[in-house]
Amino acid sequence: MWKFFHRLASPPHFYRLAATLIPWLMFPGLLLLAWGSYNGLFVAPPDYQQGDAYRIIYVHVPAAYLSMMAYMFMAIGGGIGLIWRMKLAHAVAAAAAPIGAAFTFLALATGSIWGRPMWGTWWEWGDPRLTSELILLFLYFGYMALRSSIDDIAKADKASAVLALVGVVNVVIVHYSVEWWSSLHQGQTILKKGGPAMDPEMLQPLLAMILGFTLIFGALLARRVRTEVLYRERRTRWVRKMVLAPEGGR
């Protein structure tokens, strides 16, 4: 087991493994998305309260969930990198940030579009989830700004790892404080998300979408980590050998 992890952490091994992994994540992910979208859009019955507008949750919920998950990847990757000095973990953290920011943006945009017919406004400060998500987007911006303003990669890795760990504690605090805050101001009824009462015909596509999104996230992450690894290892012998090999290494 330990040996497996050790090999996984070796950059050339990971670089090759990720390349074979990407299609295996990408295509099932796309299939699940297609199935989930079809069933979510056309098969699942309309919600008795929100009508067809609720179908936005099929993209909003997975995006919101992945925005958190990407942040966890950043924080955990950074933590592992700091404690065990594992360079691959830092590469994962660096790669997760832009993907997480993209999904956070998507969650915000879909939440806001959903708000238009439901609340009659594009932005409702009273909704704690949207507000937390906005703060999360700012946290991503801060993280990426810090990373890009430090030239030395090793230093950037460590500094942004500290920031991500501090940020993860903050995300929890933001969540609860914003919830408290919106309860003060009698926040509007918020987006209904799942729960035991949900019709299986509605729930199944949602689960498929969540799983599909996760696989796509994995594929995107693997692709970006490959780039990070390649760049960080640009002076090593294995990269040199790969580049000079007749068939190349993509």
Binding site: A53, P98, L244
Partner: protein, 53 residues
């Protein structure tokens, strides 16, 4: 046939799904482009070094 318009909500729903598609495709495309660029830069540098030796 199903109702594409979904009452009055169709436009919102379709925009959301469209946006999702755009963001996923764009993310993947950008990641590919970045990888190619990094690879090419490294290739150029290594080959230049190789020729000098």
């Amino acid at each position: 046939m199903v109702d594409i318009g979904m009452g009055n909500y169709g436009i919102y729903v379709w925009v959301c799904f469209g946006l999702t598609l755009i963001i996923v495709v764009l993310s993947d495309w950008r990641a590919r482009v970045r990888h190619k660029r990094v690879y090419r830069d490294i290739e150029v540098r290594i080959k230049a070094l190789e020729e000098r030796e």
